[in-house]
């Protein structure tokens, strides 16, 4: 364990900050269609929050929150949401991701608004899972961690 992982200030600040970072990530995902941001950016911010938690409290503590198998399930779930939304448009006679073809509501503009949000959520889930698994795979094992942060 290195110095930064024992610091009370850093641990407390991270414990308080992580939920707010995650809330901001959800805001970015949901406002991707109307403003700056989107599924990719929101997913990266959500993944960064969990990476921050795993950096300070240790990789094993982070893997307790999101294990490797759950990470794999998350990555494939997001991709499935994206592909299913696109294929649903084909089934209802449109082109891939042509949202207005889905007869969910009489108002096609509203349908496309909701389906864009659904696609953004799928992208966000996949990106956050891949970012977390990148960090878990690339980070050094617990015993030799912290050599660089002396």
């Amino acid at each position: 364990m290195s110095g930064i992982q024992e610091s009370v200030i850093i641990r407390t600040v991270v414990r308080i900050m992580v939920p707010f970072i995650q809330l901001f990530a959800l805001y970015v995902i949901m406002h991707g269609a109307s403003g700056p941001g989107g599924g990719f950016q929101g997913g990266v911010i959500f993944g960064a929050a969990i990476i921050l938690y795993a950096m300070i409290f240790g990789i094993s503590e982070g893997k307790k929150k999101i294990s490797d198998s759950f990470d794999r399930i998350l990555a494939s779930t997001g991709l499935t949401i994206y592909a299913a939304t696109g294929l649903a448009c084909i089934i209802f006679g449109g082109m891939f991701l042509q949202y207005s073809a889905v007869p969910l509501l009489p108002d096609t503009a509203l349908v496309s608004k909701y389906l864009i949000d659904l696609v953004e959520i799928g992208i966000g889930i996949t990106v956050l899972a891949v970012m977390i698994s990148l960090f878990f795979d690339i980070s050094p094992p617990e015993s030799e961690a912290g050599e660089v942060e002396e």
Binding site: P36, G37, G38, Q41, I45, F135
Partner: protein
């Protein structure tokens, strides 16, 4: 467009880029690269491309820095050349 702000940002961008490739200590190089990404994000926003700036700030200054440092922890940490 505020041209004096643009000139200042681009000047710092060039300084960061040259410092990042010329410095020997790799941890310092990574931190300078992160500062480069932050300035680049401000430049993107200044050019009215908020979406790209957002991505640059999240990925360039956030995730890549963490991944580089995690890689550095498994290697030597000094450049040979």
């Amino acid at each position: 467009m505020i041209w004096i702000l643009d000139i200042t940002l681009l000047f710092f961008l060039v300084v960061c880029a040259i410092a990042a490739i010329s410095i020997k200590d790799l941890l310092s190089s990574i931190i300078i690269l992160s500062a480069y990404s932050l300035i680049m994000a401000i430049v993107w926003v200044e050019m009215h491309s908020v979406d790209v700036g957002f991505t640059e700030a999240a990925v360039g200054a956030g995730i890549t820095t963490v991944l580089f440092i995690a890689t550095l922890a498994r290697t030597e940490g000094r450049s040979e050349d």
